[in-house]
């Protein structure tokens, strides 16, 4: 049911964890739908220097979280804001249809983290 890429990211997720004293943190989802994603960022200048995730969720939720951290690493904030949930799913060679809306929130979590950073900057 899942692509090889999904299973790769699911079984060897990249950038798991939480950055201490993160510059920006974003969390989306809730327990009732069964998916919660939390992304933390280290930002230097305008560039994402480090990114980590923690996710409670199914295989798709974990794989998209891992994938978005790879895609956003070393990107400028404006570039990272261009990343969409659909692009993350594409990079994983697609997700099963029923997972497209419920577990495909990783780009949203990234955007929330950037928003949080910018708010803190004032």
């Amino acid at each position: 049911m899942y692509s090889e890429k999904v299973m790769d990211h699911f079984s060897n997720p990249r950038n798991v964890g939480e950055i201490e004293n993160a510059d920006g943190v974003g969390e989306v989802g809730n327990a009732s739908c069964g998916d919660i994603m939390k992304i933390s960022l280290k930002i230097e200048g305008d560039v994402i220097k480090d990114i980590k995730f923690k996710t409670f969720g199914c295989g798709a939720a974990i794989a998209t979280s891992s994938m978005v951290t790879e895609m956003a690493m070393d990107k400028t904030l404006d570039e990272a804001l261009q990343l969409t949930n659909a692009a993350v799913a594409d990079a994983l060679d697609g997700l099963p249809g029923n997972k497209m809306h419920c577990s495909n929130l990783a780009a949203d979590a990234l955007h929330e983290a950037i928003k949080n950073y910018r708010e803190k900057q004032g």
Binding site: M7, F10, P13, V16, A31, K54, F56, G59, A60, K99
Partner: protein
């Protein structure tokens, strides 16, 4: 890779003796049991033999057994057939919030068609309160439909008490015993059951065959109209091979129920104890004692069920989960919801259901593989705060 199957509540392998019993009916003895000629005569005995074997397991007479195509059909037939036949008496059904979808969805369908249904709540162990059942009965009540054992948690309902209440108020009692059959003794007389549903593939028989016990004198409209098979209760040419297999599976279940399930219970208990000892923050879902001997449903806090199952699968372990992702909807299991299990824990619920082919090595393998998987997924979970 080692493969460990602990999903016997989903389905079971066909027992070798059952397969042997079935094989002749595909080529050599292919006849239609309703035919008068030699080819028909060769197989009609097999159907009647199977009927006796099923009847013996649940302590009824063979004439009270109706063969069906599966457990779901049995439940549909019992509910819809009762409602249609007892229209003049009333339109009210009492059931529970934790029935299998074969009953629940049928009840919802019947509600759209003029029935009233009371869904009895369950407590944190998934248990109903018989006093509430008694209170729910009105003069319009025509049917009590309450399962024998729950497929997700294994919780066993007090069927004998329910049967006594049904008798007291002269209400028909239907029970879905799909999960109980072959795992614990089931006696339709003791429990005063009018309709009992079972399914072949949960007892070492083939998929796509089942039976309903219909107590003698029970008025019921058929679900499948057509020929005169099954004393006009269920039309359709008999699936002879599958019926013969179901019969054999029931015979074996009767012979082995005690030995097999004492062993299975010991294995299940070993697994349960092992998990509780090795892993912190695990919650048992289901009744601590009144439970099918093979079933263990637990929530590993902070972890979503599907991701756990995928990790199990990578290690060759087959189990199941009540998470939304595995229930095929956006909501976690209705059974967990009915028990008041906190939503995140409902998404974490994991069912191990063991069977006669499991061994101590299987259990120990699971106990070895499980803790690091749980630890790794917890490390990944934003809900998890490691205890210092």
């Amino acid at each position: 890779m080692k493969q460990v199957y602990m999903d016997y509540n989903a389905t079971t392998p066909v027992r070798p003796e059952v397969l042997e019993e079935m094989l002749p009916f595909f080529r050599e003895h292919f006849g239609n049991p309703s035919s008068v000629h030699w080819a028909g005569r060769q197989v009609s005995g097999a159907v009647e033999n199977a009927r006796e074997q099923v009847a013996r397991l649940i302590n009824c007479s063979p004439a009270e057994i109706v063969f069906t195509s599966c457990g779901s059909e049995g439940d549909n037939m019992s509910l819809k057939g009762t409602v249609d036949a007892l229209r003049d008496k009333g339109n009210h059904i009492v059931t529970t919030t934790v029935e299998h979808p074969a009953v629940l969805s049928t009840c919802q369908y019947l509600e759209k068609n003029g029935c009233e249904v009371t869904y009895l709540p369950v407590d944190e162990h998934g248990m109903i309160d018989s006093a509430q059942l008694e209170k729910a009965i009105t003069e319009k009540t025509i049917l009590i439909s309450i399962m024998w054992g729950n497929n997700e948690t294994g919780t066993l309902f007090p069927v004998e008490e329910i049967g006594a209440i049904a008798q007291k108020y002269k209400v028909r009692f239907h029970t879905d015993a799909v999960q109980a059959i072959g795992k614990i003794p089931v006696d339709v007389q003791k429990a005063n059951v009018d309709l009992l549903v079972l399914s072949g593939h949960k007892v070492g028989g083939p998929k796509g065959v089942g039976a309903v016990y219909v107590r003698r004198g029970t008025r019921m409209t058929p679900l499948i109209h057509g020929g005169h098979q099954e004393r006009n209760r269920r039309a359709g040419t008999h699936n002879v091979a599958a019926i013969a297999g179901l019969g054999k599976a029931c015979e074996l279940a009767g012979e082995r129920i005690e030995g097999d399930y004492q062993r299975v219970r010991d294995l299940r208990d070993r697994l349960e104890r092992g998990i509780m000892e090795r892993i912190p923050e695990v919650k048992l879902n289901g009744h601590p004692e009144k439970r099918l001997p093979n079933t263990l449903n637990v929530s590993f806090a902070y972890i979503e069920g599907e991701s756990l199952l995928l990790n199990f699968d990578m290690k060759g372990i087959a189990a199941s989960s009540g998470s939304a992702c595995t229930s095929g909807s956006l909501e976690p299991s209705h059974v967990m919801g009915a028990m008041g299990v906190e939503i995140a824990l409902a998404h974490s619920s994991t069912r191990f259901s063991l069977g006669p082919d499991n061994t101590e090595e299987d259990v120990d393998y699971v106990l070895e593989v499980l803790p690091p998987i749980v630890e790794r997924l917890r490390e990944m979970s934003p809900l998890y705060k490691k205890k210092a």
